[in-house]
């Protein structure tokens, strides 16, 4: 069965992105459509490999993480752009994250999940999201946050990566025999909840973006 809580919410978010963003003026927002398509594809392939072919899907998630770090970091930085002048930090941190991932994959191999790199990536995303909030607070101009698309996108990202901190820190314990033998897969449940929060926030931000574009075009 390829449809799980994760894949369902990811598919819904992908559909919302297709409806709301396919005519968006910004290429960065339109990038969310192929990215979410890739998320759905990766998730379903991962389930297929694990449940039907009974082979490890770790290499797939390791490969996916390269795209995840590039897209999420780029989009986070895109949201910071109205407030920051230089692009130097974008390239420096992107390069640093790639170096960390390549090094961990090289040392531990493709069949061991790169959880150290994933933790570093989460920390970078959390700090950047918090920095975005700080800039929103500092900004003298008033933003109607309840319908401000970038705010909800960053909020979803912060909830997901901040919430997954404990899972990343205790990754080795969670995949150990003792925990895995529990009647319910705790890490899987946590990620289900986090995914629901993430994709709900993102879907709402896409709807806000759609409404903002429509109200703007009706004014022109």
């Amino acid at each position: 069965m390829l449809l799980t809580v994760n894949t369902t919410i990811e598919l819904i978010c992908f559909l919302v992105a297709c409806i709301c963003l396919h005519r968006d003026n910004s290429a960065a927002w339109r990038l969310m459509i192929p990215y979410l398509a890739l998320v759905c594809l990766t998730e379903m392939t991962g389930i297929y490999l694990s449940k039907h072919l009974h082979v490890s899907n770790t290499w797939l998630y390791n490969a996916y993480q390269y795209i995840e770090l590039t897209v999420i970091w780029s989009f986070l930085y895109f949201n910071l752009k109205p407030y920051v002048k230089t692009n130097n930090w974008y390239y420096i941190i992107l390069a640093a994250l790639w170096v960390i991932f390549v090094t961990e994959t090289y040392i531990r191999g493709w069949f061991v999940f790169a959880n150290i790199s994933a933790s570093v990536m989460s920390v970078v995303f959390i700090i950047t999201s918090l920095y975005y909030f700080l800039l929103v607070i500092r900004d003298e101009a008033y933003l109607q946050l309840s319908v401000h698309a970038p705010f909800w996108w960053v909020s979803g990202t912060l909830l997901y990566y901040f919430g997954s901190t404990a899972s990343n820190v205790f990754f080795d314990f969670l995949v150990s025999g003792a925990i895995m033998s529990l009647p319910f897969p705790v890490r899987y449940i946590v990620f289900n909840i986090l995914n629901v929060l993430l994709y709900c926030c993102w879907s709402y931000s896409f709807i806000c973006r759609y409404r903002q574009r429509n109200s703007f075009s009706s004014l022109v």
Partner: protein, 262 residues
């Protein structure tokens, strides 16, 4: 020390819940802060509008005051002079050349005085423009006009360097000066008026002192009689300054207005 898988599960769940609740609180706080920001911006906008309204009102009042002075002068002064000129000229008997010469000379004198008065009025009309040239000059012109009436002995000291200030603030301060003078004319029964305008510590200080009958400041303010006094406080506050009124029955009055001025 080893912990059981159940204890670990409890600890893990607790940490995850905390890590989920923390950003939720943060998002809630930012939304709340943003609402306050909106309120602050609205209040700022309202204050700006109120200031603009009061400034416009001050400009209108300055104009009104000038027109009143002109109307009064036309009636009491120039009108009288021209009336005398007509009367003198109509009384000229061309056959009595000696007296006719005398009367024509007197009529000429009245006409000359009328011209002088008209010129002075024209200068007063330009008084509004004087504010644009500087507060010191505008006050001097107003006092020059007042001294003509010879009812008061006026002294004016000023020590304001040439600095680019705010014309809006100067207009408001000029209006406050006019209001204070009006109060003296109407109520003070003063003989001497002293005006001092000085710049110190990035503040402009204007004080208007008279030797009139004075009044009990608190009593007048309490009885809501002193709308002019309330106006002084309100308008000085609007330009970030303050107006202090010192007075006592029989001891004259001093109005001191201080505003920030860079």
């Amino acid at each position: 020390m080893q912990i059981s898988s159940k204890e670990f599960l409890f600890l893990f769940s607790l940490i995850t819940i905390i890590f989920l609740i923390a950003p939720l609180f943060l998002i809630f706080y930012i939304s709340l802060y943003n609402k306050r920001k909106k309120k602050y911006i609205e209040e700022k906008e309202e204050l700006k509008k109120a200031f603009e309204h009061e400034l416009l009102k001050s400009q209108m009042e300055v104009r009104e005051q000038t027109l009143k002075t002109i109307a009064l002068d036309l009636h009491d002064n120039i009108g009288q002079l021209l009336g005398l000129t007509i009367m003198t000229l109509s009384a000229v008997n061309v056959e009595d050349k000696e007296k006719a010469k005398e009367k024509i000379g007197a009529a000429e004198e009245f006409a000359k005085r009328s011209v002088k008065e008209v010129r002075a009025l024209a200068r007063l009309l330009h008084g509004e423009e004087q504010i644009n040239r500087g507060l010191v000059a505008a006050i001097a012109l107003e006092l020059e006009w007042m001294e003509k009436a010879r009812q008061y002995q006026v002294t004016y000291d000023h020590n304001v360097p040439e600095i680019p200030g705010s014309k809006d603030k100067e207009t408001m301060l000029y209006r406050l000066f006019q209001e204070s003078l009006n109060n003296i004319f109407r109520h003070a029964q003063a003989k001497e008026i002293h005006i001092n305008l000085e710049y110190s510590n990035q503040r402009l200080l204007l004080s208007i002192t008279d030797d009139g009958i004075g009044f009990n400041v608190n009593e007048v303010l309490k009885l809501q009689k002193g709308m002019g006094l309330h106006n002084l406080h309100k308008r000085a506050g609007m330009i970030g300054g303050e107006a202090i009124i010192h007075s006592a029955p029989g001891a004259g009055t001093q109005v001191a207005i201080s505003i920030p001025y860079i």
